[in-house]
Symmetry: C2
Subunit: 386 residues, 2 copies
C-alpha cells in the first residue's frame, strides 16, 4: 500500500514497552503482570492473528519484574509465536479437559516469580480476564504464597500513549478509510439497500489496503438515523435520508475509527444545521487539544456546540490496537493529555426524538497541539444522487 509503514515492529519497540512496564511494576511493588487478552499479549509480543476469534483456547503471558516475557500458550500457536522476539515460549496441547494449561502456568509462575510476589492482572474499566472462571479459581489455588492482584492500571497507562511507530500504523489505517469514504458515491445512491452499501463499502476498504474490516456500523433514515451501532437493514436508501458509515479498518493490527455522513438527495436545512454544529464541535475540541488539557475539557468544548447537550453520552475515546480504548471524553474523565495519545472526537446531535447524527475524526496529540490522522470531513455535507 502506498505510503504504509513496514509491517511489525523492531525488537527495540518491544524492549522499550517492557522497560516502561517494569519501571511501573517497580513503583507498584508488582513481581509480574499476568495477561490473557489479545491486545495485552500483542502489546508485549507482536503476536498478531485473527485466531483469537476462536474462544476455545486460553493464552497466557507473564511479564516478570526483571527479565523477558514468557508465553504459556496452546501448541497451535507455537509456530507463529516462535517468529516473535520472545525466546521463552512454553506450550501445551489445548484443549485439554484435564488441565487446560493451568498446571504449566502455575509451574512457570513458581519458577519465575519469587514466593510472596504479587502478580498484577488488568482489572479496571475496559478490561476483562479471558480464561474460564473455573480455571481462574484453580490457578489462584495453585499459587501458593504468591497472589493475584490488580495491575494498578499499568496496561492502561502504557497503552494510553502511542509510540511514533504505532501512530504511523494508525495513520495508515485512517488513510485506507479516507480513500474508501471518498468512493462512497460509487456504491451508494437512492434505492440501494443499506446492507448492500455496507457490503460494498467493506470491499472498498479492502481494495484500498485494509487487512480486514474489523468494524462497520451505521444507519440511514429520513433526517437522521436511529443509532450508531446497528448492523445494516435491507431498507433501500431514499431521497431525504442521511446515511452514516462508521468504520474501523485494521492495518497491521491497528485500527482507525471514524465515520462520514452523506445526504441522499438534497438535505433539509435542519440536517445542514446539525452537520455544521457537529463540525463546529469537533473543530472546537481539535483547537483545544494539547498536552496538559484533559479528556473532560475536550468533552465540554464539544458539548457547548450541541443543542440539548450530549445527553450523557461520551464524545470520543482513545484508539489504537482496539477500536476503542481509554480514555473516554466524558465529564468524569480527568486524564491529562500527553503527546502520543490518539483520540477520536465524536460529537452527536439528536435532531428529533429517535433521529440522531454523529460525526467523528481521529487525532493525535503532539508536543504543541494536535494533528488530524483522518482527513477532516468536507465542510458541506456530501450529497449522493439527486
Amino acid at each position: 500500500m502506498t505510503g504504509a509503514p513496514p509491517r511489525g515492529f523492531p525488537e527495540a519497540e518491544f524492549r522499550a514497552r517492557l522497560a516502561r512496564a517494569q519501571a511501573l511494576m517497580a513503583e507498584e511493588g508488582l513481581a509480574a503482570l499476568f495477561l490473557t487478552t489479545e491486545p495485552e499479549i500483542r502489546y508485549f509480543t507482536g503476536y498478531l492473528t485473527r485466531f483469537w476469534e476462536s474462544p476455545t483456547r486460553p493464552w497466557f503471558l507473564l511479564v516478570p519484574a526483571t527479565g523477558d516475557p514468557v508465553a504459556v500458550i496452546p501448541a497451535i500457536g507455537a509456530h507463529l509465536m516462535g517468529q516473535s522476539w520472545l525466546s521463552d515460549i512454553r506450550t501445551w496441547q489445548s484443549p485439554d479437559y484435564a488441565d487446560d494449561g493451568i498446571g504449566l502456568l502455575a509451574e512457570t509462575i513458581a519458577e519465575l516469580i519469587p514466593a510472596g510476589g504479587h502478580i498484577g492482572t488488568p482489572s479496571g474499566h475496559e478490561t476483562h480476564l479471558r480464561m474460564p472462571l473455573a480455571d481462574w479459581g484453580r490457578l489462584q489455588n495453585a499459587l501458593g504464597s504468591r497472589q493475584m492482584t490488580s495491575d494498578a492500571g499499568i496496561l492502561r497507562r502504557l497503552r494510553l500513549v502511542k509510540s511514533q511507530a504505532e501512530i504511523d500504523k494508525i495513520r495508515a489505517a485512517c488513510a485506507v478509510a479516507d480513500r474508501a469514504f471518498t468512493r462512497v458515491p460509487e456504491i451508494a445512491a437512492p434505492r440501494e439497500p443499506l446492507e448492500r452499501v455496507f457490503r460494498r463499502f467493506q470491499a472498498l476498504c479492502l481494495e484500498e489496503g485494509a487487512d480486514w474490516v474489523g468494524y462497520l456500523a451505521g444507519g440511514a433514515g429520513p433526517g437522521g438515523y436511529g443509532d450508531v451501532i446497528s448492523p445494516a437493514s435491507e431498507r433501500p436508501l431514499a431521497e431525504g435520508d442521511v446515511l452514516m458509515l462508521d468504520t474501523g479498518v485494521v492495518r497491521d493490527g491497528y485500527y482507525c475509527d471514524f465515520d462520514r455522513n452523506y445526504a441522499v438527495g438534497a438535505p433539509t436545512p435542519e440536517v445542514e444545521t446539525a452537520y455544521a454544529r457537529l463540525l463546529a464541535a469537533s473543530d472546537a475540541a481539535f483547537d483545544l487539544a494539547a498536552p496538559g488539557r484533559t479528556a473532560a475539557e475536550l468533552f465540554h468544548a464539544m458539548d457547548a456546540h450541541l443543542p440539548g447537550g450530549a445527553g450523557g453520552g461520551r464524545l470520543g475515546h482513545g484508539l489504537g490496537m482496539q477500536l476503542t480504548e481509554w480514555p473516554s471524553l466524558i465529564p468524569a474523565d480527568e486524564t491529562v493529555l500527553e503527546p502520543g495519545m490518539v483520540l477520536t472526537l465524536e460529537p452527536g446531535i439528536e435532531l428529533t426524538p429517535g433521529r440522531i447524527m454523529v460525526h467523528e475524526e481521529n487525532v493525535v496529540i503532539t508536543e504543541t497541539g494536535a494533528d488530524y490522522l483522518s482527513t477532516p470531513a468536507p465542510r458541506t455535507l456530501p450529497r449522493l444522487g439527486g
Copy 2:
C-alpha cells in the same frame, strides 16, 4: 442473497430457547443465569451488533428461572435492544467511573431473584466473563444472600444443538464461502502476494453475500504451509506452493468455518497423496457421523488416515454463532452426537517438519447420519496458474 433465509428469528425461537434453559435451570437448582458475552446474550435476545468490538462497556443479561430475560445494558444499546422481543430493558449511562452498571445490576438481581438463590454463570471451557474483574468482585459483595456459581454447563448444552432456523443460517454462510472459494482462480496466481490474495478473497466473500468476514487465515509455501492461524505475509505465491485459505464468513450472525487448498502450478506427488489422505479422513468421519456416535469416535475415524497421527491436535469442532464452539474432536471428548449439532471435520497432516496441510468441511448431524453444509472439496487438488 439468493436462497438465504430471512433475517432474524421469530419470537417463538427465543421462547423455545428460554424454555429449554429454564428446564435445565430447574434440574440444576439455579435461580437465574447471568450472562456477559456476545453469543450468550444474543442467544437469548437476538441482539446482533458489531459494537462488541469496543471493549469499553459491559453488557449484562439475567435469565430468571421463571419469567422473561431482563437486559441491564448501556444506554447506547437501548435503541437496538428495544427492537428485540425483550420487554424489560434497564439502562445506565456507560462508561460511569463511579458505578459502571453494578448498582443497577445488583438492584435488578435483588428484585428478580429470591434470597438465597444461586445464579449460574458460564465458567467452563470456551467461556469467559466479559466484565472488569474489579466489578465482578463488587457485584459479588452486593449480592447479599444470593450467590454466583457455575451455570453447570447449561449454555454449552443449549448451544450444542442448533434449531432448524440456525442450521439454515449456517448453511447460507457456507454457501457464501463456497461461491467465493470457486472464484479463487480469479484472484490467486503465481507472483501474486499472499496479502493481496487475502484482501481480494475477503472482497469476493462480501460480493457473494457475507455481511462481514469474521475470520480469514491461511498460508502458502512450497509443498505445504507452516501453520493455519497466521495473517497474510507479503510473500508472492510461487510455482510449487500449496495455498490454503480458511475463512469464517458471517451471515445474519452465523458463521461458516472451512478451508480450501490449491496447488500453485503442478503439485508434487507428496502433496497429492497428502490431499487424498485428508479427503479420506474427512470422508471417514462423515460416513461415521450419526446420532449416538461421539466426538472422540469422529477423531479416531480421521486419525486412522493420518500418517503419524494428529500429533495431539484436534480434528474439528462445533460451529454456529461463533467460529468455533463445543465440542472438540479430540480423544477426550465423549460428547454424544445428536441431530442438530453442527461440526467441522478438520484433518491435518505434517508432510515434512514445519510443512502441513489441513482440510476442513462443515456438516450437520441429522436423524440418520450427517449432511454437508459446505459443498465438499473437489477430489483433486485444484490448480492455480501453470
